[in-house]
């Protein structure tokens, strides 16, 4: 279909002789996103291989995740899978030219993505409060001893691999939510993002890691503002489809993190 559209456009502009069918049969934005995702998959591939490397040579590998953590991670997985479905429905709505439903499905996708981030942040906070910290970082006074504090002291590879991998993924999900917000709401999204950043900064306790982590939203706000003000445009179905590719990739990566990081470290009582 894209070939036919391009050929038609070339004929209209009397440049039929100059037209050359695209090699991959897709528009350049989509090919660009696929290339980015291929390179990003190598980033996550390296992190997952590093996690597995640590897992193989560290005997015994800690298994700290109780039923509560596994249940939480399962709900997070369901959120991401459901967000992929709403994203697909959003792409269909965009291809139909239905702006209202495109926005609604994108907002639903963002809601699932935000639920994932909030659940993950709550789990991180709980693990840190129980003593799972990176080497060199202060441990909470209340968790100087205990199972997770012992793991942090004796097997520092575990918190390093766990926090490194999941932080990278959480960052990608956050970027994805901001990306979808820009596509769905354009400039209307900026004050919303700014309000979430300020509210997060004042509401999250100062001793929580996300009191500083929330500043990622400020960076997102700056980048989104630059894009929206320097190159204002009405995002079409191609833009929605390309943003969908990024979102599904984030979901795809979690399909490996969930079993490798959580399920293979399950503690059965």
């Amino acid at each position: 279909m894209a070939d036919a559209t391009l050929e038609h456009a070339a004929v209209q502009h009397d440049a039929s002789g100059a037209y050359e069918a695209p090699l991959f049969g897709a528009y350049s934005k989509k090919v660009g996103m696929w290339l980015f995702l291929a390179s990003d998959s190598l980033t996550f591939g390296a992190l997952l291989f590093a996690f597995s490397y640590n897992r193989i040579y560290t005997v015994p590998w800690p298994t700290p995740f109780h039923a509560e953590s596994i249940g939480n991670a399962t709900i997070m997985t369901a959120c991401l899978l459901s967000s992929s479905l709403t994203m697909v429905l959003g792409v269909f709505a965009a291809q139909r030219g239905d702006r209202a439903w495109t926005r609604n499905w994108l907002l639903a996708t963002m809601a699932f993505g935000t639920a994932f981030i909030v659940l993950h942040a709550m789990e991180w906070s709980k693990l840190i409060a129980q003593g799972l910290t990176l080497p060199g970082f202060p441990q909470p006074a209340s968790a100087a001893t205990g199972e997770l504090a012992d793991i942090s002291k004796n097997v520092p590879q575990f918190p390093q691999a766990f926090f490194g991998l999941t932080a990278m993924h959480m960052l990608h999900v956050t970027i994805g939510v901001i990306y979808l917000g820009v596509v769905a709401l354009r400039k209307w999204f900026l004050p919303i993002l700014g309000a979430i950043w300020i509210a997060g900064y004042f509401l999250i306790p100062a001793d929580n890691v996300f009191h500083y982590g929330i500043h990622a939203l400020l960076l997102g706000l700056i980048v989104a503002s630059v894009i929206l003000f320097l190159k204002p445009k009405d995002y079409d179905s191609h833009d929605v489809e390309v943003s969908g590719l990024y979102w599904h990739f984030v979901d795809l990566v979690w399909m490996f993190i969930f079993p490798l990081v959580y399920l293979m470290s399950t503690k059965v009582i």
Binding site: G25, A50, S52, D251, M264
Partner: protein, 103 residues
């Protein structure tokens, strides 16, 4: 290649894929939590299930199934080749360290 009408008509298949992905996730959780297999066998099974889930996501949700064959194969082969190279860098060394007993 992409045909909007065809996709719209067969929207139901995306709900089936979504249901399948949730079902596979439930199987993973049950297998892991009940520790049905030894760790190495469990790892192999979980990885196979993850590959199936990722293939479903790439093929249907990311629509790679509907792209031109050149794009499909170029992406899959190049990324897979990189992972194979990574495998041969990481795992023999991890196994060597394990056998040497290095702490």
């Amino acid at each position: 290649m992409h045909d909007v009408a065809t996709h719209d008509d067969s929207k139901g298949q995306y709900f089936w894929v979504w249901g399948g992905l949730l079902a596979l996730t439930a199987v993973e959780v049950v297998l892991a939590y009940r520790q049905v297999f030894q760790p190495l066998r469990m790892l192999q099974i979980l990885l196979v299930l993850s590959v199936i889930k990722s293939a479903l996501i790439i093929a249907y949700f990311m629509h790679l199934k509907f792209e031109r064959a050149l794009m499909r194969w170029l992406l899959v082969i190049s990324v897979s080749a990189c992972f194979v190279i990574m495998y041969f860098f990481f795992f023999p060394d991890a196994d060597r360290i394990l056998r040497l007993g290095v702490k």
